[in-house]
């Protein structure tokens, strides 16, 4: 491993959920802030082991859903009563009952869209270049390995000590990832 390049992060590899779970609890209790746990699948509760709260996404989605519904209903009402009022089967211009289906559908569209986009936004995705993805070790994380990464930008980060720390957590394999 040539040390010519700038170090991006130190990664430690674990092979079972149990291991990484306890490792995360330990990292959480240390003062590291810029660290993360990578798993091939969502490990339930791991975010708690990492000391994170719940996602703020739902509020965002709720707001967008309301917007969509209101917007759709308003649009239909405006069109049918103001913009283009025509006598249809002797029905009132403002036949709100008929506007419900579209209102509902648009509500769903807005919420679903905002759920996905919001998720990407909160995750700062898409991010097509990521130093971690260059590491052969790291590639296994999308298959069957569990990895804890501690970024070099962390004030408490020191290449050797941090690697040592990861080993102490029981990482089967530890390495530095360069930018």
């Amino acid at each position: 491993m040539s040390s010519s390049n700038k170090v991006f992060a130190a990664i430690g590899e674990f092979s079972t959920v149990k291991e990484i779970w306890h490792a995360c609890e330990k990292v959480r209790d240390s003062e590291f802030t810029k660290w993360d746990a990578h798993t091939p699948f969502p490990v339930h509760g791991l975010e708690h082991a990492m000391g994170m709260g719940r996602s703020r996404l739902p509020f965002f989605v709720f707001a967008m859903g309301i917007t969509g519904a209101a917007g759709a209903f308003a649009l239909q009402s405006w069109i049918s009563t103001t913009a283009y009022p025509i006598i249809i089967a002797a029905k009132p211009y403002f036949s709100w009952q008929a506007f419900i289906p579209v209102t509902f559908e648009v509500m769903v569209l807005f919420s679903a869209g905002s759920a996905v986009l919001g998720m990407l936004f909160l995750n700062r995705l898409p991010r097509w270049w990521n130093p971690l993805l260059e590491s052969e070790t790291f590639k296994q994380v999308t298959n069957n390995k569990f990895i804890i990464s501690i970024e070099a930008s962390d004030p408490k980060f020191d290449p050797d000590e941090t690697q040592e720390f990861l080993r102490s957590l029981g990482a089967s394999k530890v390495e530095l990832v360069e930018e």
């Binding site: 025509i86 006598i87 249809i88 002797a90 029905k91 009132p92």
Partner: protein
């Protein structure tokens, strides 16, 4: 449908130039005479607009025409010089509404297959050559010993005058009459009882009408005038004694038969016997009638007894016994005798002195052709080669004649065999005059100069005498003598009114010679063996002369609802005997089988069709189909003339019908005939109506308060005009004029047989006909014109995603054609299924079929619909808007009642359609909607239709009450 286009290269194709010049000529002065050269004189291009003509403003001109001697006064709409619509002229005594043929005649003017140039021995020649030939003709004819002229029914004073000239010039010349829609049998019958040189008519006012194989509503006589009076005679407000009652005895279900109060289906050959039986009973009733031989079973007929009783019970001279042209002379003779005895002469049966005498029949001519004494044969405006009964073998003899000249609108079967074919001017292109059977003369004025070099009949007759006079002068010359001084002023008035107020044909009351009748009318012992063929004039194409009109071809037959074809029509029982399936009982009604109809060695193969109400052991064959040289539309159907004989051209016994393995699809436009006990057409007898005037309510499937309420408050219809229309089912006779009129007015395309088969016809107003097909030879037909009923709570509007069909403030259910994207949801949701969809670009297909002709006919006030667009009736909204503009320009903007007439209303001979504004309590339609018979079809759906119907009343004879 064949989609071949007419070649635009033809030398005489009506190019834009010719057409415009023609228009110019017409506009310049209506004096532009039809002449065999193109009119060089008085071309007036639009560069200088005549001040009396506003482009786009339609103008109406009165004219007149005749079909088989039935004269009709017409009003023709001319749009920028193009005739675009034909309707009846109310000023004319023999006119109420108009026939389908008059309606369709405007299209035939533009028929691209009309003959466009003179033809000599199969080769087109220049007009000048033809002129040259006609110049030399008199010398060739000499004293006329070899000259024979075949004329159609042409009741024209000018023509009569010219006959005299021809006779004067060629003393030995012979005149023969042949007209596929003519009245030879009636004439012969009249002659038998000593009535000659006369014309007669019956206008339908009688209180008892006994039609013996006669079809005065459909295909015989002055149909529109008759229908008008007949419908009026059924007015519910009439006292029972004055309300008319129609008895019909006939083999096939005619339009008249379908409107009968009592109908008896019998073989055509037995109709006469029933008439004899009637005579017998009338004689017993004290009338002066010669004793006649009649078979026992006919004498015992309950029907005949009741009829006789009914006739005798009425006031003298208030009834009529009608005999149809299909019956032989002696039956007609008896008919006259009975009417004379009933005192109907001069009352319900009126005679006028007219018509050239000494006119031979076709059989006489054939006799002469056989002995070769005919050297020059002139056939004017008829088509004997196609229509003449086969056994006359006319075609061959025709070719043997050294010189044959044919004058015709088409180079038809006769024109092809003739030495010379001369194009005939369309009646909308030519000057002339016609005298109705009732006596009134009317001037026929052209709407447009001839589109092709051609001669009108009278011009042609003038040529025969060597004169080159133009039609205009010929007609004026005829009438000049009629009045003294100030002729031009009177002339203008005649042209304007469409009737000549002088020179009425004198009416008279002939006496009848009953001697010899008994001899002629002897009960024929030998009874017909096997099946009997009944040849009938077709309800659409008549004798075939209208065969090339796609409108008429696609107009479904009122009874069978078959379009584009004729068929061997039989009763259910007869079908069973023949061994063919009853197609009416199959799920795909249209699939039927071909049968071989053979008699006397001749065989015709055509599809069989089952029609309840047809007499047992009778095969009904309509004439006029399967033309060889009638044009591409006229080809459709099957030619049955080869089965006819001159001796009995309409009835032939001893026929055999053998089913074949071949199947055939018939374009039936209403596969389902039964009403399935739904309250669609509501009816009652006059008796029940007087007992219970509100009988229509008994039919309601939902009670008022259920239907009346809406879930929301409806918008107020505040506009000045709230349009509504009522259709009186008591008057409607099902003739179909409304359908064709609508087609002409609203640029409705025809779809051709292929698409008609699939059920894609475009008619905005159709005539539903119902009957319960369970009986075999008994049938009660109900008609119901059905167009968009303009629901106030229209289901179609609610489902259109783009709002292409919306409600107007005046209660119309409008179609914004250019907004329609063609989801067809509106049609699905329309309970009346009156919406029509352009599954293909029918308009363009019509253009391809018809060249620029159809474009010239189209009404510029109505959008031409594109492919993929839904269309339907909108109460002729273009006429409403025109009227509104006029009302705004010269008035307070209120459209007076009666100023807007829908096309169907205008065309209806029975006056069964009323249209107007229901905001105005005094409008005619407001009153008809007050009528106790008024009801809405499918009222239970709470659609609040603006079109409502007045229930039908029947007037059965108590003595014949069933059960």
């Amino acid at each position: 449908m064949t989609r071949e286009t007419i070649s635009a290269a033809g030398p005489h194709n009506p190019g834009r130039r010719n057409f415009l010049s023609a228009v110019g000529a017409t506009v310049a002065s209506l004096q532009t005479a039809a002449c065999i050269r193109k009119p060089y004189e008085k071309i007036l291009p639009y560069a200088e607009r005549p001040e009396d003509l506003v482009p786009g403003e339609a103008r109406h001109y009165a004219t007149v025409w005749n079909v088989g001697g039935a004269v009709q006064g017409l009003l023709v709409r001319s749009t920028d010089g193009r005739p675009t619509k034909v309707d009846g002229n109310p000023n004319h005594p023999m006119t109420g509404g108009s026939t389908i043929w008059a309606q369709a005649s405007v299209l035939s003017l533009y028929d691209p297959e009309r003959s466009k140039e003179p033809v000599r021995e199969g080769e087109g020649v220049s007009p000048d050559e033809a002129v040259g030939f006609l110049k030399k003709l008199p010398d060739e004819i000499g004293d006329g010993s070899g000259l024979a002229v075949v004329v159609p029914e042409l009741p024209s004073p000018t023509a009569d005058r010219l006959w005299e000239d021809i006779r004067a010039k060629y003393p030995k010349a012979e005149l023969y009459r042949f007209d596929g829609a003519g009245t030879d049998h009636a004439r012969a019958g009249a002659a038998m009882v000593g009535i000659e040189g006369a014309a007669w008519t019956t206008d339908g006012t009688p209180t008892v009408i006994a039609a013996f194989d006669a079809d005065p509503i459909g295909t015989e006589g002055d149909t529109t005038a008759f229908t008008k009076a007949f419908a009026a005679g059924r007015d519910p407000n009439r006292k029972p004694a004055e309300a008319n009652r129609l008895y019909v005895v006939e083999p096939h279900v005619s339009i008249t038969g379908s409107n009968a109060d009592h109908r008896m289906a019998v073989k055509g050959s037995e109709v006469g016997d029933f008439l004899a039986a009637l005579a017998h009973h009338l004689k017993k009733g004290g009338l002066n009638v010669p004793t006649l031989d009649a078979p026992k079973d006919k004498l015992d007929s309950k029907f005949v007894k009741a009829l006789a009783k009914d006739l005798l019970s009425r006031k003298r001279g208030s009834t009529i016994v009608m005999v149809g042209e299909r019956q032989p002379a002696h039956v007609h003779a008896l008919g006259f005798v009975l009417n004379e005895a009933l005192g109907n002469f001069g009352k319900t049966l009126r005679f006028t002195k007219q018509g050239p005498t000494e006119v031979g029949a076709l059989s006489d001519l054939v006799r002469r052709m056989n002995d070769g004494s005919v050297k020059q044969l002139v056939v004017m405006g008829s088509n004997p080669v196609y229509e003449a009964p086969a056994d006359l073998n006319f075609g061959e003899l025709f070719q043997k004649v050294p010189l044959t000249i044919h004058l015709g609108l088409y180079r038809d079967e006769t024109g092809r065999l003739a030495t010379w074919h001369i194009p005939q001017s369309h009646y909308l292109e030519s000057w002339g005059d016609l005298r109705a059977r009732e006596g009134t003369t009317a001037i026929q004025q052209p709407l447009v100069a001839p589109l092709y070099p051609s001669l009108s009949p009278i011009e042609f007759m003038a040529r025969l005498t060597g004169a080159e006079s133009k039609g205009y002068d010929l007609v004026r010359a005829t009438h000049q003598g009629a009045i003294s001084g100030g002729f031009d002023k009177r002339w203008q008035r005649w042209l304007h009114d469409g009737v000549v107020d002088v020179g009425q044909a004198p009416s008279f009351v002939p006496s009848v010679k009953t001697d010899g009748l008994a001899a002629a009318y002897k009960f024929r012992a030998e009874r017909a063996q096997g099946l009997e063929l009944a040849f009938v004039r077709d309800n659409a194409v008549l004798d075939g002369r209208f065969g090339n009109s796609p409108w008429l071809q696609e107009l479904p037959d009122p009874i069978t609802k078959i379009a584009w074809d004729n068929a061997a029509v039989v009763s259910p029982n007869t079908a069973e005997k023949i061994g063919v399936p009853n197609n009416l009982e199959q799920s795909s009604v249209r699939d039927t089988v071909m049968v071989d109809v053979s008699v006397g060695g001749e065989t015709v193969r055509l599809p069989v069709w089952v029609q309840p109400g047809t007499a047992e052991d009778v095969v009904v064959l309509s004439l006029g189909y399967g033309r060889k040289h009638g044009g591409k539309f006229a080809k459709s159907g099957f030619d049955v003339n080869s089965l006819r004989t001159a001796e009995s051209p309409y009835i032939r016994s001893g026929a055999k019908v053998t089913p074949t393995r071949k199947g055939y699809a018939v374009a039936c436009m209403q596969p389902e005939a039964s009403m399935h006990d739904r309250p669609i057409v509501r009816d009652a007898t006059r008796g029940d109506f007087t007992d219970e005037p509100n009988f229509v309510e008994k039919f309601e499937v939902m009670d008022e308060d259920h239907v009346a309420s809406l879930l929301w408050d409806e918008p107020e219809y505040t506009a000045e005009h709230q349009w509504a229309l009522t259709i009186d089912l008591n008057s409607c006779v099902g003739c179909g004029s409304c359908t064709v009129a609508c087609q002409a007015e609203n640029n409705i395309p025809w779809v051709g047989k292929e698409d008609a088969l699939k059920g894609r016809e475009m008619h905005w107003i159709r005539i539903d006909r119902y009957f319960e097909p369970k009986h075999s030879d008994q049938v009660e037909v109900r008609y119901q014109p059905m167009a968009c009923v303009q629901c106030e709570t229209a289901p179609c509007e609610n489902v259109c995603p783009v709002g292409a069909t919306v409600h107007g403030p005046e209660g119309l259910n409008n179609m914004a054609y250019n907004r329609c994207i063609g989801t067809r949801y509106c049609s699905n949701n329309c309970p009346y299924k009156v919406r029509r969809f352009n599954f293909f670009h029918y308009t363009v297909r019509n253009d391809a079929d018809y060249g620029m002709g159809i474009a010239m006919q189209r009404n510029p006030d109505v959008t031409v619909r594109y492919r993929g667009v839904m269309e339907k009736c909108t109460y002729c909204v273009q006429r409403i808007n025109k009227a509104r503009i006029h009302a705004k320009v010269n008035g307070d903007g209120i459209i007076p009642d009666g100023t807007v007439k829908t096309a169907c209303q205008e065309a209806c001979p029975a006056d069964c359609i009323t249209f107007g504004n229901i905001r105005d309590p005094d409008s005619k339609v407001s009153h008809t909607r007050e009528d106790p018979r008024n009801y809405a079809v499918l009222s239970e759906l709470n659609l609040r239709p603006r079109t409502t119907y007045l229930a039908k009343l029947t007037n059965p004879n108590p003595d014949l009450a069933e059960g």
